[in-house]
Amino acid sequence: MKQADRPVLHRWTRHEYERLIDHGFLDEDDPIELLDGLLLVKEPQHSPHRTAVLLVAKAVERAFGEGWFVQTQSPIILDDRSEPEPDVCVVRGSPRDYVDSHPTRPALIVEVAQSGLGLARGRKAAAYARARIADYWILNLVDRVLEAHREPARPGPARRHWGYAAIETLGAGATITLLAAPSACILVADLRS
């Protein structure tokens, strides 16, 4: 007989999550995001984090150019139980295209991570891979590198959860090419504070 030593947390649906917001339990400034039905507390916004978010947003905006827009720390919809707010993501079209509902499939997601590094590599990478996000970067402030996660891979003999099959770690001197805008490339040093 199975014995669960860890109690099971209630998983929220996106519909319930939106009702929490409508009824004022959560507001836009709360550092909370819905991932896999859990109301996760986001990494604190200390100034290196904030600076990195702004630098990344600026660099990817320039690299993607016309026909795309960049949103920072705004909701996207992944599935019925996930409405995360990635630090930076690049979405096709213009903001007006998303008046009625949040974007669902960004071409690029970037998380800036310090204390949240385990979360970014673990639960978030799994959720993004499962949603077939093709290009997911973690700007790792602990080791001062950029981790490019590509090739979403389903669970199987090699992995317990969804994840990325190709993970490349890039130092400050490296450049990175965008999967969705292959003609552009970004110097990793331009992303870091």
Partner: protein, 195 residues
């Protein structure tokens, strides 16, 4: 710098007042088995036939043992503290149902959890939570080993999940008898509680 392993489990906490508002607003599905434990919304274990039968047998035995002046509740909410509203499988509270028309009872004289898959959680987290609230008599009807675990004498313990635990633990098999602290004249065979 080391990444805190605990980070991943940090989720939004709810107070009991918020939790009761969520219920009033009908945010949860009707019949969803949710309890608020130390600010976290926990999902209760699914009811198997043995679990349900054990609850019914325990409630009946406790009703007989406590007699008039007591009210035996099954899976009813307890207003335990500012961030906890558990729904123990069986709880014995003073008075009658009418006494709790405006507020849930907060201090059962006896609290019982029937445990199969929830055994670890019932011992660790719930045990610590109930000890912190000062509940004097806490029983776990352990269906895995077919024994009754009796916990008494709440005492501080910084290593426990909520800073308290029960100092005394007694394990009684089916042939033993148990006497509730609040009904010292009665004794119940453990076999009468087991499914």
């Amino acid at each position: 710098m080391r990444v805190m392993a605990s980070y991943e489990t940090r989720t939004r906490r709810f107070s009991r007042a918020e939790y009761e508002r969520l219920i009033d607003l009908g945010v949860f599905q009707p019949g969803e088995a949710i309890e608020l434990i130390g600010g976290e919304l926990m999902v209760a274990e699914p009811q198997g036939t043995a679990h349900y039968t054990a609850i019914m047998k325990t409630a009946k035995a406790l009703e007989a043992a406590f007699g008039p002046g007591w009210h035996v509740r099954t899976q009813g909410p307890i207003g335990l503290d500012d961030d906890s509203e558990p729904e123990p499988d069986v709880a014995v509270v003073p008075g009658s149902p009418d006494d709790y028309g405006r507020a849930h009872p907060s201090r059962p004289a006896l609290t019982v959890e029937v445990a199969e898959s929830s055994l670890g959680a019932d011992r660790q987290r719930k045990g610590s939570l109930y000890a912190r609230a000062g509940l004097p008599d806490y029983w776990i009807l352990n269906l895995v080993d077919r024994v009754l675990e009796v916990y008494r004498e709440p005492a501080p313990d910084p290593a426990a999940p909520f800073g308290w635990r029960y100092a005394r633990r007694e394990v009684l098999d089916a042939s033993a008898q148990v006497t509730p602290l609040a009904a010292p004249g009665s004794s119940i065979f453990v076999s009468r509680l087991l499914p």
